[in-house]
Assembly symmetry: C2
Homo-oligomer: 397 residues x 2
C-alpha cells in the first residue's frame, strides 16, 4: 500500500514493517512511520546502511516507543530512510536513495531522520518517529516545513533503537499540525505539564548566526509571540561563540559514536557514503582525552543555562541558520552549513532541553523553522505553548 | 558619647535614642545606628522634617526590626539623619544638615538613608539600619563605599517605620564588611538559604546606562566574579528603555507617597527643602489613574524577570550609573542623576528582589558599587555570595 503512494522515496521498501494498532486511544485512526533505526519485531533494522543490515539479525522485539504509539491506536505504515548510522544532517542516503523534500524538491530534506520528515511532508502518514542527536529531527522539520520536537533527554525510552551518541540521542517526531505534535507527546511523555509559562528569551547569538533572510523571515513571528507572551528578553548564552560550541559538541559526539559503533565498524569494514565515511574516520581518531574539554564545556553550559529555564522561561531562536542546502551543493558547502547549524542545535542538545520547531517562514520558497526551548521536563508545557503559538501565527493547529 | 565623635554629622542630636543590648548573640559587642524613620520607644521619630517632629508624639513602641538587633546583642548608638520623608536620593537635609560622605567629602552622601551611610563610612558604628524605596540604601552605599542590602520585599517587618510608598518600601543596612552584612541578615532574615547558585546575568542596559568611567571601574570585578561563577550571560531585560522604567516607577511611587502622606501634608502644610517640595507637589498631582500604566508595567516586569531568577541566577550591574554628585551640583544636575539612577534601582525595586551592593571601585576618587540581585527570598544565599565575592575581589570580608 505504502509503496504505491511513496512518490517522495521516504520509505524503506517492503511491507514487512507495517503493523496494525495494538489498542485504541488518542492516536486511533492515524498512521505513522518510523525511522529505520527503531526495532520492529521480525524485521531487520537497517540503520540506513546495507552492511549494517547484512550483519544484524531481525529484531526480536519492537521498540517500546513504537509499541506505545501502536497501543494508542496508530497504524504503522512502515520504516523510513535514515542517514547511515544517523551520522549526518543533509538527509542523503546513497544506498537507498535520498528522500524528496516535498516542500522544496530542489533541496535536501535534512537528516538524519530524512525519510520520516519526507513521509510527513509528502502527506504519506499523519506523523513519523525520528531520532535526534545533533539536530536530526529539528533540522529536517525546519527544512521540510514541519512541526518537530526533540524532547528532554531521557524522557522517552530509546530501548530498541540503534545508538549514535548515547548521552545526546533522543527520539523525536514530526507532524503537520501543532495539536498532533502535542497529541503524540500525550502518549509518549511523562505526565507533568508544569513550566514554559515564563518569559521568552531571545538568544542573540543564534539570531545573529542565522542568514539575514532567515532572521527576517522569522522576525514577524517573534513579534507576534511577544504580543502573546510579553517582550522577549535578549540573552547572550554562549560568549565563547557558537563555533566553539560546535567544536566541543562535535568532539563529544564523535567520541561517543566511536565508543558505540567503532567495534562494529572495525569488525565489519562497512562501505559508507560521502561525508559519513569522513565522520567515522574522524570519530576513530577522537580519544576520550580529546573529548574531555567538550564534556567540561557541556557541564559549564548546563550550569549556565538550565537554572535560567527552571522558572518557566523559554528560549526562542531560528531552528537552523539556513534553509535546506540545494541538492547541487558541494560537500564543502554542506559541511559549512552543518557547522553553522550544529552550533545552534548544540544548545538544547548539550543541555538536554526539550525543543520544538514551528514551520513559520520561507526563504526563496524554502521552509525555515522557529524554535522554542524550555527547561528540562517541561515538554508538555512546551507543546501546549506550541499550540498557542500556532494559533497566534496562523499555522495548522 | 556619640555626639562627641560625630564629625560627619550623621546623627540626630541627643542621646535619647541610645539603647543598650536586650540580649546577646551574633551581634554582641557591635554598635549600630538607625535611620530616624524607625521608632524607638519614648522618642519622637522626626522623619527628617521639623514639622513632622512637631506634629507627632513620642513613639510608644520600638520597631520590631530594631528590637531584633538589640536582642541579638547590638548596642544602639543613636538615630541618623534622613532625607525629609525619605523622598530623595542625594542625602541633603536643609533642616538638620547634610551628613558628610567620609569617602568623598566634596560629594553628597546619597540618601535617603544618608546619616546611616555616613555613620558607617565615618566608622562611628559597625552597621546601620536604613530603608530603601527607590534606592535609599543601595545608592548611599554605592556613594560612600559601603556594603549595602535591600532585602526581598516583605521579608523583614516595617512595623514602626514611617511609610513612603508601602509596596516599594523595605528596610536595609550598611556595613564595612561582607561578613557583617551577612551577619545582620542572619538575625533579621527568614532562614532559607536556597538559591543564588546559578549563572551571573549581566544586565546590558544598566552597563550601557552607566557613565563610561563607572563601567570601566567595575568591569575588572565582573571579570573576577566570572572566574568564580562562570561566564556571565548578557541579558536585555528592559527593551522599553530604563527611562520608561523610571517614569513608571516614579508614578507608582508618587501615587503611593501621596496616599500614605498626603493627608498629613494637606493638614500640616509643612515646610520642605528644595527638591522634596517639588516631589510632593508632583505626588499630589498624581491620580491613581495616572499610576495605572506604571502598576501594569510593574506586573509585566515581574512576570518577565522573576522566573529568570527562580533557578538561582543572579543579575549583575553597576549599582548607580554615576558616582555621588558634587555638593556644588545644581538641582537640575541632581535631578538628571536621580532619573538616570532610578531607571536602574527600579529593576529590583519594582520586582521586589533582594539586591546587595559591593564597594568595588572608584571614579576620580569617588566610590561606585557593583550590584548582585537574586530571586525573591534568596537573600541569605545572596549574602553568602557577597562574602565569596568580597574574598575574590579583595574587599573586607
Amino acid at each position: 500500500m505504502v509503496e504505491l503512494l511513496d512518490d517522495v522515496g521516504a520509505f524503506m521498501p517492503g511491507d514487512r514493517f507495517a503493523h496494525s494498532p495494538l489498542g485504541s486511544g488518542r492516536l486511533s485512526g492515524l498512521t505513522f512511520a518510523v525511522k529505520d533505526l527503531f526495532d520492529v519485531a521480525g524485521a531487520i533494522t537497517t540503520y540506513g546502511n546495507p552492511d549494517w543490515a547484512r550483519t544484524h539479525p531481525p529484531a526480536s522485539a519492537t521498540a517500546p516507543v513504537v509499541l506505545g504509539l501502536l497501543q494508542a491506536g496508530a497504524s504503522l505504515a512502515g520504516k523510513t530512510k535514515t542517514v547511515e548510522l544517523a551520522y549526518g544532517l543533509t538527509g542523503e542516503n546513497v544506498w537507498y536513495g535520498t528522500p524528496v523534500n516535498a516542500a522544496a524538491p530542489d533541496r535536501f530534506p535534512g537528516g538524519s531522520s530524512c525519510g520520516s520528515a519526507a513521509a510527513v511532508a509528502g502527506h504519506l502518514v499523519d506523523f513519523a518517529l525520528g531520532s535526534d542527536t545533533g539536530g536530526s529531527v529539528r533540522i529536517p522539520a525546519s527544512y521540510c516545513g514541519l512541526f518537530g520536537i526533540r524532547p528532554t533527554a531521557g524522557a522517552i525510552s530509546l530501548a530498541g533503537a540503534c545508538p549514535l551518541a548515547p548521552s545526546l540521542d533522543t527520539p523525536g517526531w514530526f507532524t503537520r499540525s501543532a495539536s498532533l505534535l502535542a497529541g503524540v507527546g500525550e502518549v509518549l511523555l511523562p505526565a507533568n505539564r508544569q513550566g514554559a509559562d515564563g518569559p521568552l528569551l531571545r538568544v542573540e547569538e543564534a539570531w545573529v548566526n542565522a542568514q539575514p533572510g532567515v532572521a527576517e523571515a522569522l522576525r514577524p513571528a517573534l513579534e507576534k509571540l511577544e504580543q502573546l507572551r510579553g517582550r522577549a528578553i535578549g540573552v547572550r548564552l554562549v560568549p565563547e561563540g557558537l563555533d566553539t560550541l560546535f567544536q566541543h559538541f562535535r568532539m563529544v559526539q564523535a567520541e561517543e559514536a566511536w565508543a558505540a559503533l567503532g567495534a562494529w565498524v572495525e569488525a565489519t569494514g562497512p562501505r559508507f557514503g560521502p561525508g559519513v565515511a569522513e565522520r567515522f574516520a574522524a570519530a576513530k581518531a577522537t580519544s576520550p582525552a580529546d573529548a574531555a574539554p567538550g564534556r567540561a564545556f557541556r557541564r559549564l553550559l548546563q550550569a549556565r543555562i538550565r537554572p535560567l529555564l527552571s522558572g518557566g522561561a523559554v528560549l526562542i531562536y531560528p531552528t537552523s541558520p539556513c534553509p535546506a542546502p540545494l541538492l547541487t551543493a558541494t560537500l564543502a558547502e554542506q559541511d559549512a552549513v552543518r557547522q553553522r547549524t550544529m552550533g545552534v542545535t548544540a544548545i538544547a542538545g548539550f543541555c538536554g532541553l526539550p525543543e520544538v520547531t514551528l514551520p513559520v517562514g520561507t526563504v526563496n520558497g524554502a521552509p525555515v523553522g522557529l524554535s522554542l526551548v524550555a527547561g528540562q521536563g517541561q515538554d508538555r508545557a512546551l507543546l501546549a505553548l506550541a499550540c498557542d503559538a500556532a494559533a497566534v501565527l496562523g499555522l495548522p493547529v
